[in-house]
């Protein structure tokens, strides 16, 4: 799984989960966090209440002072009326002093602080201004001022990232849609809206693919289910009805409790890539045509040389009435005419033959049929033809005609390699089928003929490459290669000079793999 598009850690994406955070009003966060019961302008009721309690406390303190005066000053002789008067007076004086001091040095600055905090919370001010200069509360006020500055700095940072995120979300050259559990689009970026149309609240399948029901294989659903990122190539329909290939990544958005609440679908338009691929293919085709024409010209030149030579030798022999030379010259003419007919036949088959109808085919039967064609020829050449098939192979989706051509080509090459070898006393060709890795089936043709050196092996599947001199056109293996590739398969050779060769065709057993590769 490629990591690049998986996105940041889900915990970092939590903010996407909130409804449109980048559209929130300035100060939302502060309002949410600092909103207390003190919604009245000053919180004055609470303050008055507290002031009263303090006054009462100072009153009680005055009575205690009056009592001590009586005991220690020896005022027991004073009439009770005086004593009461002194008590009340000292109570009033001390109560007033304490009340005034408390109000000025504590409650007023606190009220102003509260007011200032509310102003900041409302957003009408950005700075905590306190007019009162008071030593007792100044550390508290400083702490509040610092806290406010920090909060405001964080808010500015948050706002900046919010704007950055918004810019990325809107203008990234991809389609982004946030999907809810009900498959409705919660959020989409501009690119998405411009391409697919639709509005927030629409079903994703309607907007992406103009379908009336959920897609049979839904990758967003997979991400909701397993909480991981999935990737898929899809074809959507734009708002103008054009089909558009895209690569989509579905990334889950997890809430604080670990539940996937949304899935973000990030898609890339594959049209430019497909166009490039198409151009590359065209360029390659043109290059192949060029090479083919050059190779063809070379082959024809060689044949022409042989033909002209044959004609010259024949004419000379007729002039001199030399029967032996006449036979030589005529053989040259015949041989080169045969080369031309071979070339034309192979060229025609190469241009015509392509992969046809795929059918469920018994490969073993196909191999047996092809081998039967060569039984007589092998016997005449003294080559043992051995069949080794895996009976458990089952049926394989192939174009039987095309694959038959491939097997016949390999068999004929193997026999040639044996006939050409003058070193060994006995020769054999083994053709077989077996299972390969990754659900592939293998067809192998093995011979103990002349074998090939490395440079020959490298050129095996090239156009017009032949080791058979005047007998080969160099198209057989190239054609085989082409057909195997069209089946989504592979062909390769292993060989050692003087020891023999093994050619292997590997074909995927399931048709889907074949189509995917072709």
């Amino acid at each position: 799984m490629p990591r690049a598009l998986e996105g940041p850690d889900p915990n970092e994406r939590i903010h996407v989960d909130r409804p449109t955070p980048w559209r929130g009003k300035e100060g939302d966060l502060l309002k949410g966090n600092l909103n207390t019961e003190a919604q009245s302008p000053l919180g004055s009721k609470a303050l008055s209440f507290k002031t009263g309690i303090l006054a009462a406390a100072s009153c009680a303190a005055s009575w205690v002072i009056a009592f001590f005066l009586m005991v220690f000053v020896g005022a027991e002789d004073l009439p009770i009326g005086w004593l009461l008067a002194i008590g009340v007076a000292s109570c009033l004086i001390s109560g007033s002093v304490i009340t005034i001091w408390t109000k000025l040095s504590i409650f007023d600055p606190l009220a102003e602080l509260t007011q200032g905090l509310h102003r900041i919370t409302r957003g009408s001010s950005h700075e905590l201004v306190i007019a009162h200069k008071n030593k007792t509360l100044s550390p508290l006020l400083d702490a509040f001022r610092l806290a406010c500055e920090r909060i405001q700095e964080r808010e500015r940072q948050l706002e900046r990232s919010r704007k950055e995120f918004h810019a990325v979300f809107e203008h990234v050259p991809s389609y982004i849609a946030v999907i809810g559990r009900d498959f409705r689009i919660v959020e989409m970026n501009r690119n998405f809206r411009d391409t697919f149309g639709g509005v927030e609240g629409d079903y994703c399948y309607r907007v992406y693919k103009k379908r009336s029901e959920k897609c049979p294989q839904c990758f967003a659903e997979k991400s909701f289910y397993d909480g991981s990122v999935h990737r898929s190539e899809e074809v959507g329909v734009t708002k103008d009805g054009e089909e558009i290939p895209y690569l989509v990544y579905t990334a889950p958005v997890v809430d604080e409790g670990g539940m996937v609440v949304h899935v973000i679908e990030m898609s890339v338009d594959l049209r430019p890539l497909k166009a490039l691929e198409h151009e590359k293919l065209q360029a390659e085709r043109l290059a192949i045509v060029g090479q083919t024409v050059a190779s063809l010209a070379h082959t024809i030149k060689n044949i022409l040389t042989g033909l002209e030579g044959g004609v010259y030798v024949t004419q000379t022999a007729m002039k001199k009435d030399d029967q032996a030379l006449l036979q030589k010259g005529w053989a040259m003419v015949e041989r080169n005419i045969e080369r031309i007919s071979h070339l034309v036949r192979d060229l025609l088959s190469y241009s015509k033959v392509g992969i046809g109808t795929m059918e469920s085919t018994d490969l073993n039967e196909l191999v047996k049929d092809a081998a039967n064609l060569y039984v007589e020829m092998a016997r005449a050449a003294g080559v043992e033809l051995i069949l080794e098939v895996d009976d458990s192979l089952g049926e394989v989706m192939v174009d039987p005609k095309a694959l038959h051509t491939c097997i016949v080509n390999l068999l004929s090459n193997a026999l040639d390699a044996c006939i050409e070898d003058k070193e060994k006393s006995s020769h054999r060709v083994v053709i077989g089928t077996k299972r390969g890795p990754g659900g592939q089936v293998l067809i192998q043709v093995e011979d103990n003929g002349v074998g090939m050196d490395r440079s020959t092996q490298e050129k095996l599947f090239q156009r017009f490459f032949s080791t058979k001199g005047t007998r080969g056109t160099g198209l057989g293996l190239m054609l085989t290669h082409k057909l195997v590739r069209e089946h989504g398969g592979r062909i390769w050779a292993e060989s050692q000079p003087g020891r023999g060769s093994v050619f292997t065709i590997a074909i995927p057993q399931s048709p889907s793999a074949a189509y995917a590769n072709s």
Binding site: Q291, A294, S295, H298, T299, K301, N302, L304, T305, G306, E308, G309, G310, Y312, V313, T316, L325, K328, G329, M332, R335, N336, K459, Q462, R463, F464, F465, G469, T470
Partner: protein
């Protein structure tokens, strides 16, 4: 004057048959080889007056054989006419004429492309032999 001896080295039997017949009909003595290894042996044995050499052959190519001839002090003065289809299909962009000669090795005396133009080949052979004999005297 004894007939001049010309050696044909080509891996294609048809070309060998054609060229030897053509040359014999035009008054030359011929000998031939069908690959580079056999070719070098026969050149040493037969000492031809001129060699018609195919460029691309299996085992030892005409290029390698040409270099060996030019490096051998006894063989280096034998004129060579290179014969080939203008380029091998595997190497369509290589200019073989430039490839053959290096600083220490001079280019061959002649260069013929397939299909072989009989008159042009005979003319080239005559010209090369004449130049050699006039230079030698």
């Amino acid at each position: 004057m004894a007939p001049r001896k010309i050696m044909v080295i080509d891996d294609e039997e048809d070309v060998v048959t054609f060229l030897t017949t053509l040359l014999e009909e035009n008054g030359y003595e011929t000998c031939w080889a069908m690959d580079g290894v056999e070719g070098l042996e026969k050149i040493k044995r037969e000492r031809p007056d001129l060699i018609c050499l195919d460029l691309l052959m299996p085992e030892k190519t005409g290029i390698l054989l040409y270099r060996e001839i030019r490096k051998d002090p006894e063989l280096k003065d034998i004129p060579v006419i290179m014969i080939t289809g203008f380029a091998a299909p595997e190497y369509p962009l290589i200019d073989f004429k430039r490839f053959i000669s290096t600083k220490s090795i001079p280019p061959p005396e002649g260069f013929m492309e397939k299909p072989i133009d009989q008159k042009a080949l005979l003319a080239a052979i005559k010209e090369t032999l004449d130049a050699k004999s006039s230079g030698g005297t």
